[in-house]
């Protein structure tokens, strides 16, 4: 008769990184939040197709703030990746510095975007373009703020010495969320800032 | 064909039978799908019921633990038979659907008559368009068309989403604010075809009916010429009094061509319409029409040529008219028309005036 269950090695107690249920949970969260942005961009595209290029307040949205801002945010993904390497190899300083720099870049992103917002000629109530622009970028900003809170908590835990090279699941979860926020921005940026250069140029 | 079943199923709004090329191919398809559906339901019901009766264990069953489970055989054959039949039936339905869609999408010949129907809460404004501006006119809730030719219908809305539906002649097409939807219909024989708004649009959605009156081309022409004439001036003293009272109390919302009653642009109207808000805003706004439904209430120039009032809610006779004017909220609560607070003599004068609007 076969064994009830055959275990040839010890089982970890409480999840390790991708083995933890928390990791799978954050993937579900990312799926649902990504869908949210998909529906927002669907609405944007619907309006754009219905109204045509005249719907845009300007045919070529200004990139002089948005482009550097985008680069900052995307670069912060690289920084958080570097921080995660620090946690994986037991280099706590590297991890802490990396998280702190990522958070600073996130804050810079928000400040620059707020500044860009204040310079717009349209408002959230002035028309459908304004409503969509501010709600899409605004909801993204809200996700960045949540990301900053999560990173702040992870920073505190790391500083308290809670992570080891084997056990640092919150590091993985938080950096995955941060990468998600950056990818969403890439898609939003492309749709709102870059795409008009292609479809509205006439 | 006279048949007791038809009597039970008779309704002015029935589409069990339809009477024009816009609706007929869909009706045939509908009956085909009904036949298919009934057959499928009958077969499955028979299979399930007979399965239970034939295969059940008879006698008392003490404990189910005494009944061993067995895999049995032949189960998959049900899929091998059932699934191909299902696919064939559905593909057939799809092919027929696409064919009917193609057939009824556009009228068989270019329509010579175009109507612009504007949905309002809770009545239908009907504008007869023409390349010659002096041949355009407007009416409400009752559409006359000549038989035997397609009529183009442009649908717009003055406020919320409504849906234009005259079941015996055409399926539904929504009237959506901010866009113009196109439909068409054709009646092959004369008759009065009842319709109703078919998209929930507020408290009196239930009373937003319409009538499509199809008549022989000569009769239609006579009606049309009558609609083009402005209102004849009233003759009797009571009717003249009534005209004055009408213009003063009703003219802000209801236009009568040839008088000072011009209706009003509802696009500038803010908030619910009450007697006081009406009076306040009436003075401030010029009278104008726009092609996207700029009026508050129906044009009454030829009110007496219609068979019903309040979008198919009441019969158009002295009793109905008086009751409606005296207290619209009692008959159609929530309607945009406020109580007019006319005195007895004033009311009867107004009704006498309105009766001259043929």
């Amino acid at each position: 008769m076969a064994e009830a269950v055959y275990l040839d090695q010890d089982l970890p107690v409480a999840g390790l990184k991708r083995n933890s249920v928390g990791w799978w949970g954050i993937l579900c969260l990312i799926a649902t939040e990504a869908s949210l942005f998909a529906y927002l961009l669907f609405s944007y595209a619907y309006f754009a197709v219905r109204f045509g290029p005249r719907w845009l307040p300007q045919a070529h949205p200004a990139l002089k703030l948005a482009l550097p801002d985008t680069i900052i945010l995307l670069a912060s993904s690289g920084v958080i990746w570097w921080a995660e390497q620090g946690a994986k190899t037991g280099r706590r300083r590297q991890h802490l510095i990396g998280v702190a720099v990522t958070m600073a870049m996130g804050v810079v992103f928000l400040i620059v975007q707020a500044f860009e917002w204040s310079g717009k000629t349209f408002t959230i109530t002035s028309g459908s373009y304004g409503s969509l622009y501010f709600i899409i970028t605004g909801l993204h900003m809200a996700h960045v703020v949540v990301g900053l809170i999560i990173l702040g908590v992870v920073f505190a835990w790391s500083a308290a010495g809670d992570f080891t090279p084997r056990r640092h699941t919150p590091v993985l979860i938080s950096s995955t969320y941060w990468h998600f926020v950056d990818v969403v921005w890439l898609v939003v940026f492309t749709t709102i800032y870059l795409a008009p250069y292609v479809w509205a140029s006439s | 064909m006279p048949n007791p079943a038809y009597a039970l199923l008779a309704s002015p709004m029935s589409y069990l039978r339809t009477f024009g090329p816009r609706a007929d191919p869909a009706t045939t398809l509908m009956w085909g799908l009904v036949a298919l559906s009934l057959a499928v339901v009958a077969i499955i019901t028979l299979l399930v019921v007979s399965g239970v009766l034939v295969r059940r264990r008879r006698g008392a069953v003490e404990a189910m633990a005494s009944l061993p489970a067995e895999r049995g055989s032949g189960g998959l054959a049900w899929f091998y038979v059932g699934m191909p039949l299902t696919v064939i039936a559905l593909v057939g339905a799809l092919a027929w659907t696409v064919a009917v869609l193609a057939a009824i999408d556009s009228p068989p010949v270019k329509p010579r008559l175009t109507l612009e129907v504007t949905g309002h809460q809770w009545w239908w404004e009907v504008r007869y368009l023409s390349p010659n501006p002096s041949w355009t006119f407007v009416t409400a809730n009752e559409i006359h068309i000549p038989t035997g030719q397609p009529i183009q219908v442009k649908l717009v809305s003055a406020d919320v989403i409504h849906s234009f539906w005259a079941p015996a002649l055409t399926g539904k097409t929504d009237a959506i604010p901010g866009q113009t939807n196109l439909s068409w219909l054709q009646a092959d024989r004369p008759g009065v075809y009842r319709g109703q708004c078919a998209e929930f649009c507020g408290v009196q959605h239930a009373h937003m009916g319409l009538d499509v009156v199809a008549e022989a081309p000569a009769a239609f022409e006579a009606w049309r010429r009558g609609q083009l004439r402005p209102a004849a001036a009233p003759v009797t003293a009571e009717a003249l009094d009534g005209e004055r009272a009408f213009v003063a109390h009703c003219g802000a919302c209801h236009a009568v061509q040839g008088t000072d009653a011009r209706g009003q642009a509802s696009g500038d109207f803010i908030g619910p319409i009450t007697a006081s808000s009406l009076a306040a805003q009436a003075a401030a706004l010029p009278a104008r029409h726009s092609s996207t439904g700029g009026v508050v209430g129906p044009d009454l120039t030829h009110l007496m040529s219609r068979t019903s009032l309040a979008a198919g809610t009441l019969p158009n006779n002295v009793g109905g008219l008086s009751g409606w004017i005296a207290n619209p909220q009692a008959l159609k609560p929530g309607a945009q028309m406020p109580a007019t607070y006319l005195s007895g003599p004033q009311l009867s004068a107004v009704v006498s005036y309105l009766e001259t609007l043929r």
């Binding site: 009830a4 249920v21 | 309704s11 869909a26 189960g75 659907t97 079941p167 239930a206 609560p333």
Partner: protein, 652 residues
């Protein structure tokens, strides 16, 4: 720094006289009194709460329907004003579609899944509690609006521009919008819980082709909800912004009213599959028990479940056929809507084949499961008719559609749910429902339902539109409506018989024992009701029908139910790999916690404040939410109720 246990090889023990059942019970049982009730994270508790709450909403929705049927039983009735009627039909739809039909299935799934999987709880027990509390809060929120005369009044799909501030001032629509966004949070977290539970917490050996069909149904619904719920939450959020702040998403002048319909139905159509697929799964799992054979075509049915859900995400435009779309779009969506019937047919043939190739035992539960096949098909064929665009142009927004939706909802959700109540009530309570009363229950419901709803097809084809508070006598709809109202009354009496049966059987039903139906799946291998820890040891699974292996004898392997991993150092269960269910983790489960309840209070407070524009209170509410989350995620590796010496004794 404390040295937490990093890994271990759990002991394999037999369940016999020496088995430490009492210690396991103490580890898993909830605390006493109100505090214990609020802080419970036990899936069985939460499942029963969902079922009871959803059932209460079913009764409320039924009362709303009966009032409407009184109004419509004859022409020109004046029992209700038009505004009252509009609020009634709206709250009836909202109640049935959001507050009953999904939560009832969530409740059954919550109670059953760990028992079906051989596990001790769901993957995220506190998240489970949170999803229930938020559901309850959103239901109370929405009903608070209704009972104060501020109920939504634009139908459950709430089309704009009628739902915009200009045409619907007052807070009715705001209550609905915020209430639904709140409910959406419950649905989303619950769905994440099901997805991760399905993939990670099945017993060893329960490979993915051995799981019960109910779990395929709820899994499909949960994946769909993760992807689709944001659409409706977004739609209501944008509408709320339009109404409070003057944004221009849906206004007629600047916005696009049809965007509302797209966003709503991109959620709404997948939702209606999400509220039937788990119920179909319950039929697929329970009907075979009474037929004394495994389900015919497990693999086609499992695949068809997933396929139906996937296709269901691509047919939403069939709710918009009359909005003036181009012919190409109409043809495509008509085609997709017809094709989706194909996987549904798979289930019908599977069930019918199971009856014909089995030896059915007639019990009340079986009657509900067998009859739903017929009701399913009636609802399905009326759906095929409405999928055909030109026919839909006549049928849509008439009582034909009302007939269709009730045949699919009552036929494919309510009837299976009642069958499931008869089937699993013994497991939940330890007592059987009364069988003779059950037969009366079934026949009154079945006859009443068909008498009440079949004529709706006919009166719909006689042109009766839906959502009208009255109709004239000259329309000829009166006689048919009277029949409908009387049938509905009979159906309501049938539902009352169920309530009576439950009430008397809770106290005086026959004692059930662990497996009254001699059924094959794991939940029947443990006592009724189950102990707090579900399984004394984690079983090892060798087939789809662990308790029928001796009878079916299809291989020499046998599932091991009385010997397996112990896992008693605190609240622990086993996590396994997604496809083959190989053990790969000892999963630490949380102790009872107040955080979900506190979070819900903060969140609901924030929503109530948002309704009334008291923004600082919104802030306070969100701070409470954050505080609850901090407590929730605070790193603690707790072995509940175990001192160091107990831990030492356990290892010995």
């Amino acid at each position: 720094m404390t040295a937490w246990e990093d890994s271990r090889r759990p002991r394999i023990v037999k369940v016999d006289g020496d088995f430490p059942a009492e210690r396991l019970r103490k580890i898993w049982e909830g605390g006493p009194g109100l505090a214990g009730w609020i802080s419970s994270v036990d899936h069985k508790e939460i499942g029963k709460r969902y079922i009871v709450t959803a059932f209460v909403f079913l009764i409320l929705g039924g009362v709303e329907a009966m009032v409407m049927r009184w109004q419509l039983g004859g022409p020109d009735q004046r029992l209700l004003s038009p505004e009252q009627y509009d609020q009634l039909f709206t709250i009836h739809g909202v109640t049935m579609i959001f507050l009953y039909s999904s939560p009832i299935l969530t409740g059954f799934s919550n109670f059953l899944w760990p028992l079906l999987f051989g596990s001790r709880d769901m993957a995220f027990p506190r998240l489970n509690a949170l999803s229930y509390w938020i559901y309850l809060a959103s239901g109370l929120f929405i009903y608070a609006g209704f009972v104060t005369g501020n109920g939504a009044n634009d139908g459950w799909f709430n089309y704009v521009p009628y739902a915009s501030k200009a045409y619907d001032p007052g807070i009715n629509i705001d209550v609905y919008a915020l209430g639904l966004i709140l409910l959406g949070i419950s649905t989303t977290v619950g769905s994440a819980n099901f997805v991760v539970t399905f993939l990670r917490t099945r017993a060893p050996g329960m490979s993915i082709n051995r799981v019960p069909i109910l779990t395929w149904g709820t899994l499909s619904a949960s994946v769909s909800n993760l992807l689709a719920v944001p659409s409706v939450s977004l739609a209501f959020f944008l509408l709320w912004l339009d109404r409070q702040f003057g944004t221009q998403f849906f206004t007629a002048s600047q916005g696009q009213p049809l965007v509302w319909q797209h966003l709503f139905w991109m959620f709404g159509h997948p939702w209606v599959y999400a509220i039937v697929l788990p119920a179909m799964g319950m039929v697929s799992d329970a009907l075979p028990t009474f037929c004394r054979r495994p389900l015919v075509g497990y693999t086609p049915v499992a695949l068809a479940t997933v396929a139906t859900m996937a296709l269901g995400m691509g047919v939403w435009v069939h709710h918009m056929f009359a909005t003036g779309l181009p012919s190409l779009a109409l043809s495509f969506f008509a085609g997709a809507s017809l094709i989706i019937t194909i996987p549904s047919a798979v289930a019908v043939f599977a069930w019918t084949a199971t009856i014909w190739t089995g030896r059915p035992v007639i019990r009340t539960a079986f009657l509900f499961f067998a009859s739903m096949i017929v009701l399913f098909v009636i609802g399905g064929v009326s759906g095929v008719m409405t999928a055909s665009t030109p026919v839909d142009w006549q049928l849509t927004q008439t009582y034909f559609l009302v007939a269709h939706i009730h045949y699919v909802l009552i036929g494919i959700n309510v009837f299976p749910v009642v069958g499931a109540i008869y089937y699993w009530f013994p497991k939940m309570t330890g007592r059987l429902l009364n069988e003779p009363l059950g037969y009366w229950n079934f026949w009154t419901m079945f006859i009443g339902f068909n008498l009440g709803f079949f004529p709706m097809h006919i009166v719909g084809m006689m042109g009766m539109p839906r959502r009208i508070y009255t109709y004239g006598a000259q329309m000829g709809w009166g006689p048919m409506n009277l029949v409908i109202s009387l049938g509905a009354l009979l159906f309501a009496i049938g539902v009352m018989l169920l309530v009576i049966n439950i009430a008397i059987s809770l106290k005086r039903g026959a004692i059930a024992g662990p497996n009254p139906w001699s059924a094959p799946t794991l939940e029947w291998s443990i006592p009724s009701p189950p102990p707090p820890y579900n399984f004394a040891v984690i079983p090892t699974i060798e087939s789809r029908h662990p308790l029928w292996e001796d009878w079916l004898n299809e291989s020499p392997a046998r599932s091991r139910l009385t010997e397996g991993l112990l896992l008693d150092r605190g609240r622990e269960t086993l996590a396994t790999s997604p496809l083959d269910a190989e053990p790969n983790l000892v999963l630490e489960m949380p102790a009872d916690s107040f955080a979900p309840f506190v979070l819900t209070c903060g969140l609901t407070g924030a929503f109530i404040a948002a309704l009334f524009h008291i923004w600082w209170v919104v802030g306070v509410g969100l701070l409470i939410v954050i505080a609850a989350l901090v407590d929730w995620f605070w790193p603690r590796r707790v072995h509940a109720d175990m001192t160091a010496s107990q831990q030492g004794a356990a290892d010995g």
